[in-house]
Amino acid sequence: MNQDENVIELDGLSKSYSRFRLEPVTMSFKQGYITGLVGPNGAGKSTLIKLIMGMAVPSSGGVKIFGRRMPERELEIKERIGYVSDECHYYEHLSIGAMKNVLAPFYSRWDEKQYSQLLERFELHPKSKIRSLSKGMKMKLSLAFALSHHADLLIMDEPTAGLDPVFRRELLDMLADFIQDDTRTIIFSTHVTTDLDRIADYIAFMNKGSLVFCDSKEEIFERYALVKADNSLLDRDTRGALLGIRETSVGFEGLSADRKEAERLFGGFAHIETPTLEDIMFYTAKGRSGAHV
């Protein structure tokens, strides 16, 4: 069994740019499960993924993948990773087929049959120039390459960007197929909460360059509560118990990170429900001070 085996371990990983700082992140990604990296724009999701992939040099801290240290063992690690990104990291002037010929030799487990099937399924033509592809088609191409070398780990940066709802559903099925093998792992980032969250086991939530939490979705939905009630219930104590508040002339809505505490404080006077991930993202990003709407 692979219970509690970590595929990726991050140890105090940080990065400073002139206008953005990723605060030290210490966390792990569990083997056999899907982890969604969610958070608003500028939260640091892509920076974290670039650091994991060795596409940026960390200011401090380290990355271990499959128990091996990056970047020392980068080649053998990368061979086992399928990477999907909406930023096209291919040679734009090449055709799909020519690009494949550049990439395939890097992977000892490259599967030509699987690759052609995926191209067909995604309605991509080997002769098409990469430059001519739409954003959604580039994403599909990226996915086709990532799924054609029997990767153990799929890392996807904003995979749903540019994809229509029809294909997103199909993607959901493909990911579930990938994860039928319980030694495989998927990590994806997204700033819009989508259907992808449905199948995620763990959610790592980032905000303003920091990791806020990383827990199973089950735990998150049991812990957080969305409180809706009359404005008169808001005083210093009750405000303090809420992470974010949206006040209007017809009442307030607020997020609590402690459902029991919220039930004790607001009791029968408020409507308490389970928030969506979007609620959690919105109120955490907005904070207490939030302007009146």
Partner: protein
């Protein structure tokens, strides 16, 4: 076997699965020894997380309704027919309680109820 997940319902997804599988087992739609989809297959079919479907199966295991064998998957528990009967009796009692409450609400007395109940019982024929 059918499982329907409602996103509109406030009930947690794992509980929706537990409730529906439990009644399918108790009412005989699923038979003892019958195989259930693997945890990962169920997650795929319902488009939910693996942890959620795992939790549902663990709950059913705790109730003794299913058995999981490592490497072979999960099966409707076979050895517990007495226990299943007990569970079904409990469900029946719940329904009876419901009927009693309804009757009290309508001011239907015990005698009248027993009469009507006897009639219905014989109408259904003997099994």
């Amino acid at each position: 076997m059918n499982i329907i997940i409602s996103n509109a319902s406030g009930e947690p997804i794992y509980l929706q699965i537990v409730t529906q599988l439990r009644s399918a087992i108790l009412n005989g739609t699923l038979n003892p020894g019958q195989g259930l989809p693997s945890i990962r297959q169920l997650a795929k079919d319902l488009q939910i997380s693996v942890i959620t479907s795992k939790r549902a199966y663990e709950e059913l295991e705790k109730e003794g309704l299913i058995d999981s064998v490592v490497g072979k998957g999960s099966f409707v528990s076979g050895a517990s027919s007495a226990q299943i009967r007990e569970q079904r009796m409990r469900l029946l009692e719940e329904k009876m309680r419901e009927v009693v409450r309804e009757a009290k609400g309508l001011n239907v007395g015990l005698e009248q109820m027993l009469n009507r109940f006897g009639q219905l019982y014989s109408d259904e024929g003997s099994e």
